[in-house]
């Protein structure tokens, strides 16, 4: 006996995470998640505009932070989610992991773009220009490129199953190189711009600003998860539709799944 290939047994987690069960569970969870996200974001906006004090240096512009910081955080979390899903897909071969990775990419890219856009708007009154090659902004920009690469690779391969596997490989390569990119960008930044221009967040934040920020971060995180879940549901429905269409094509041609017998 030199080589044996045996089909893996379905594990307990695989049974729990089967697409049908996921559709049921997410269907009941969706409205609550979306409602909670909307309520928290509205509350955060109220806090931001009517409760939080103006910064004595930055004035009203400091309130861009309530969108900028959660967006940046979720932009990074999106990639972490892709990396975890990619690992799950390559190691455990679970189709839901691929659905999760696919749904997370445009979402992560959108939040990363939001972080860049708000950072740029914040930068205008602070630095006098819309773009500064600050270490954080540059890292976010490169993160956006990695998202673009993932989405472009998926769209360029016709075989959807193959596209999922290759994107999983790229996602894992990306997540191993990201810390090195981050480190090198920080190094480059200190080389060319010794003093940090602005402190965007960190422990020195005023407590009156901290509370709205936490509420906002929580609200946007729930929004992210709600959108991600919605994206996964759409993708599952799209795949079911495709499977039905393919079955229809086979039936029209007068063949069913080819089978072999001795």
């Amino acid at each position: 006996m030199t080589q044996t290939n045996t089909a893996p047994q379905q594990s307990l987690t695989q049974k729990l995470a089967n697409p049908t069960r996921f559709m049921q569970l997410s269907g009941t969870l969706m409205p609550w998640l979306a409602g909670a996200a909307a309520a928290l974001i509205l509350y955060a906006l109220y806090l931001a505009f009517f409760v939080a004090p103006e910064d004595y240096q930055q004035g009203q512009t400091v309130k861009i932070m309530f969108i900028h910081v959660p967006a940046a955080w979720l932009g990074m979390m999106g990639y972490a989610l892709i990396a975890i899903s990619s690992f799950g897909y390559l190691v455990f071969r679970h189709p839901l992991a691929d659905v999760s990775a696919k749904a997370a990419a445009p979402l992560g890219a959108a939040f990363t773009f939001l972080a860049l856009a708000t950072g740029s708007l914040w930068g205008k009154p602070m630095w006098g220009t819309y773009w500064v090659w600050d270490a954080r902004l540059t890292s976010m920009l490169i993160l956006l490129f990695l998202y673009f690469g993932l989405m472009a690779l998926r769209s360029a391969i016709d075989d959807e199953a193959l596209a999922g596997k290759l994107c999983a490989v790229l996602g894992l390569v990306g997540v191993t190189i990201l810390p090195i990119i981050k480190f090198s960008v920080d190094w480059w930044n200190t080389l060319h711009q010794p003093a940090s221009v602005i402190r965007m967040d960190g422990p020195t934040i005023h407590p009156d600003l901290l509370w709205p920020l936490i509420v906002s971060a929580l609200g946007f995180s729930l929004l992210f998860f709600a959108l991600h879940m919605k994206g996964m549901r759409n993708e599952i429905l799209r795949r079911r539709l495709r499977a039905l269409t393919m079955a229809e094509v086979d039936r029209a041609r007068g063949v069913s799944a080819p089978a072999a017998a001795e």
């Binding site: 030199t2 089909a7 080819p258 001795e262």
Partner: protein, 207 residues
């Protein structure tokens, strides 16, 4: 030695190409897969060669070299010839012999391979200049240059003329007579005494 395929299931995308296929090839036996286009002959051969993952069942070479994976004990001849146009026929053959043989090239085996497929006059000619039939023969010579017990032949007779098919049939016959195993998919019968056929077909839509 025995190639044993049990309850093989192979999927491609959402489609199930091979469903619960079992067969065995004994030492000294050639098994020819027959069936209509799209029946999964190529898929079965590529799966045994390790190029496609299985969705269920098992493939094993019983009594083979326990240290080596099944694909490393098999010659896979696919639809493409795997020849480099800028290398001569002999250089192509030497490369595959060295690569598949673990770096050891047996000069006598190279000569025997060239002789077996009537390639001696072409040995020093770059493969890019060869006709389709000559290229196919240069590809098949790989079988002789490196000894491996299991031959997986997917339409090996493509673009071969009658004389060349006879050359191939003779080599397959000798390999089988020497205790080798052959799993082939071919439209042209090789006319071997020890040849067995396995029909793989498709279920009808009504079934």
């Amino acid at each position: 030695m025995r190639l044993s395929v049990k309850h093989l299931v192979v999927d491609r995308g959402a489609r199930r190409i091979v469903d619960d296929l079992s067969f065995a090839v004994e030492a000294g036996e050639a098994l020819v897969l027959v069936g209509p286009n799209g029946a999964g002959k190529t898929t079965v051969i590529r799966t045994v060669a390790g190029l496609i993952g299985v969705a269920g069942g098992s493939i094993a070479l019983e009594g083979g070299d326990a240290e080596r994976e099944l694909p490393a004990q098999a010659h896979y001849i696919g639809h493409l010839n795997a020849l480099k146009p800028s290398l001569t026929v002999e250089e192509n053959l030497r490369f595959w012999a060295a690569y598949l043989g673990g770096g050891v090239v047996d000069g006598a085996a190279i000569d025997a391979a060239l002789l077996a497929f009537d390639l001696e006059p072409l040995a020093m000619i770059p493969a890019g200049y060869l006709s389709a039939g000559q290229k196919r023969r240069a590809c098949l010579a790989r079988l002789i240059a490196t000894p491996r017990p299991l031959w997986l032949l997917d339409e090996p007779t493509v673009s071969l003329d009658a004389a060349s098919v006879a050359l191939l049939a003779k080599q397959v016959g000798q390999h089988v007579a020497g205790g080798g195993l052959v799993l082939a998919a071919t439209h042209i019968p090789l006319g071997l005494a020890s040849e067995r056929q396995l029909e793989i077909g498709m279920r009808s839509a009504a079934a």
